[in-house]
Symmetry: C2
Amino acid sequence: MEDNKGNHMTRRDFLNQAGKVGGAVAVWGAMESLGLIGHSLVGAKEFQSPKISDLTAVNKNGKKIIILGAGIAGMTAAYELRKAGYECKILEARDRSGGRNWTVRNGTKETELKGYKQTAKFDKELYMNAGPARIPQHHVTIDYCMELGVELEVFSNSNEFSYYYQENAGPLSNQKIRKGTVRADTRGYISELLAKVSDQAALDTPLSKEDIERLKDFLTRNGDLSDNLTYNGSSRRGYSELPGGGHQSGKLDEPYNFSELLQSGMMNHFSGDYSYNQQPMMFQPKGGMDQIPKALEKQLPGVITFGAEVQEIRQGPDNVRIVYKTNGKTKEITGDYCICTIPLSVLKNISADFTKPMKNAIKSISYAPAGKIGLQFKNRFWEQEDRILGGITTTNMDISQIWYPSNDYLSQKGILIGYYNFGQNAIDYGNLPHSQRQARALAQGAKIHPQYNNEFESSFSVAWQKTKYSEGGWASYSSSDLKNYYPILNEPQGRIHLAGEHLSYLTGWMAGAFESARIVVSRIHEEVLKENKVSSKAG
Amino acid sequence: MEDNKGNHMTRRDFLNQAGKVGGAVAVWGAMESLGLIGHSLVGAKEFQSPKISDLTAVNKNGKKIIILGAGIAGMTAAYELRKAGYECKILEARDRSGGRNWTVRNGTKETELKGYKQTAKFDKELYMNAGPARIPQHHVTIDYCMELGVELEVFSNSNEFSYYYQENAGPLSNQKIRKGTVRADTRGYISELLAKVSDQAALDTPLSKEDIERLKDFLTRNGDLSDNLTYNGSSRRGYSELPGGGHQSGKLDEPYNFSELLQSGMMNHFSGDYSYNQQPMMFQPKGGMDQIPKALEKQLPGVITFGAEVQEIRQGPDNVRIVYKTNGKTKEITGDYCICTIPLSVLKNISADFTKPMKNAIKSISYAPAGKIGLQFKNRFWEQEDRILGGITTTNMDISQIWYPSNDYLSQKGILIGYYNFGQNAIDYGNLPHSQRQARALAQGAKIHPQYNNEFESSFSVAWQKTKYSEGGWASYSSSDLKNYYPILNEPQGRIHLAGEHLSYLTGWMAGAFESARIVVSRIHEEVLKENKVSSKAG
């Protein structure tokens, strides 16, 4: 490989070069084109951060960009544009950055729409990630953590030691059963069923006789089957008495009855862990998810105006003008472009110079209701007593999930996520005052962890659909929305560009906000470069 | 529930009480008997640490216990016995504690049997766990970490983003394929095969019609099947182009051909992750596995004599006498009991007052050959370029496995485990001088990670069968050994008791050493209490 001066470059030289120019993602794209990594990890278009030299080359300074919202998308846009010297101003309605990336700590205050007020009484060192809480390996979020120096630790998304617990689901109802036990039994039975008919099952397939033997061999291993291809239980499902020292050889239990397992529906929860965005390993920033917005904010000194509630979004042929309210006063700010990251659920009520189809698109998209409660306990009984270190218990009760903390294992106290639910369950919880949400979460959780009754200390709940300036968990597109409205939302409206998780195919993930911000940054930067060329030719 | 004074105790009172008396494991046992935890997690016999009051109650001080070996078993025995005031002396041949729990760092020196000498040149903040490297949630090792204040972090044992790479295995040979992709395709195909014949397959089973429908429903979810019960690929296997912002909706690839997958044998590696000792979540101490022996050693001031090589193990009716060599001088020490934790592979060559059947048993047990190499690289290309954060790549090459570090994610440098192998592969590597082990590990690893060629800095290898004072990875019992020799090894020889991972059903795990030590501690303590009672009656 040669560089542009004809010198031979080592592969590493090339990649270092690419890294300097375009950041980690450029390296990654370059890697892929060199065949150094397996495929399936790179997005379609590579992002190149705007560079200071882009603008000086055409003898012109950057433009002024007004950004609405200091969430992930807004701050990323400012961070990237400032790399090329653009002047950026962010208006943020809240008194903090991060938007839905919100870590609740001791003293956090929030008043919900319709008036429920809470103050978090958690211990000082504890926290609850009320919004995003986990990062998959392939998301661009990881690149930004690397670039911004945000330290990561494993988020335990899938722990075989956590429980399934089902109600009204046949003979296994109201029993907590470890996920690994249900998986081992299910793998055993389906392997047995298929192994016994594999000659037949393969009739319609192009499998050779040798392949069928390989299949049977695999099924035997996969299900831990006996020689007669029968599943009789397995040490993989756990023991009634663990193997230990001396003569303690361990005692196995009988597997659960397959029909009872099928009736329980527990195995229908498996596929949650299979999705590409939820496969292990997953990660969280050390010290709370808000380490990401905090790291972005640190890069933006003097850029953000907090407590600035946008009232009007206006534009003329040459500029944008934003009217906002702060400390009871109405102010305005003008700039060359506007990047609007306000959620559509909020934006629909703001007066703006958008076309009619755009206004219609904005008000047509629904947002997912989503709720979480953090429950602080005096003791980590789930670790000390249930021996569950991280992970998620899954149930068909309306709390849906219990999340065990993925940090500070074996320490004294901890905060569980006592429910994390969507849809109707989230609406139901959201309609309750906080005290009743807490009571309901405790009552259901105590069926799985009776220790709830004695160990509970304090709680904080969030109902995203009732949270001011968010009004929903994430944009929820139907397939007809994607066809009818999504293309319109993605088109700039003159000098106003929308960005955020809602302008991505990764709705509900921070990565969607990061990627959307990059697209808008590239689009504005290209436009400015084009304008500059035209004007420098003209001049 | 009432305490022994007839007062009502809350459940928590009771457990706190149990905790004070018997430590975390007693709490756990008590929990189980209260029905507070799911079953399958508690060993047969609960361990009670000896207490100072046990001995003062019979007006007699503790005995002197000579312990051979400052590994996990030896130090645990001393730690527990000293809780009741026993005088303990540990003789340790090495100049460090921990035995096979060995973290190699900058400056670590080791000369193998037959003479190969190495000095680790790793960077100061980096390390390699040469022996045990991961802890399952249910092992007693976790209890000791809690009791001793050893902080844990997740060991990424099972990462869907790491690779399978097979040679001479059909059309998919010499390709690195992400584990999650192979799993998604395999689940897809076997779900399809079974779904299509499930009516038939269930003929011989007691499944009802409703159960068969539930089974089909499960298989459809499990395999991500289409409406016609066919597997046509799935987003779970990854993308050729990831979904992202704006119009980047993501592009899927075709699944691998099922016959080619079967020929590759990749799926036969799945079951490694299913074993009860390897299911997620797994853990490692922050800062290296040797944080465990260091924490134990801290509890044993003045107890351990390092550089003391045991020459003879002698006993009379009333005492034990150990002859050892230190700094070229022969010394001896006497005591009331001896706990010998020396591996059988080493013990067989030490002169000892054992019965003939015991000597025969000791020399009959083989030890597993096991080898590891740590490779330090200038850059964490596996994170930055392959996007693998932790986990293990699995291959049929003789390196067998590549382990990515589970700590300090996104930092600059890192140490990979370049091979971890057993049996003949371990013997083959062990027979090479270090430079050739390194060359072989680099050549094979570079097939998966071509970055090996430019990024490698330094290495350190261990061949446990050639490591002085260990001479093997762990005791490897055949079923006839368990029948013929294991019972003999577990019997005390007069005043001498054997302990260690080799006296457990958890060979190769630290938990085996911990549990075995507890058994010997209880046995000696009971004997002393009995003796004391007899002598106090006599006096």
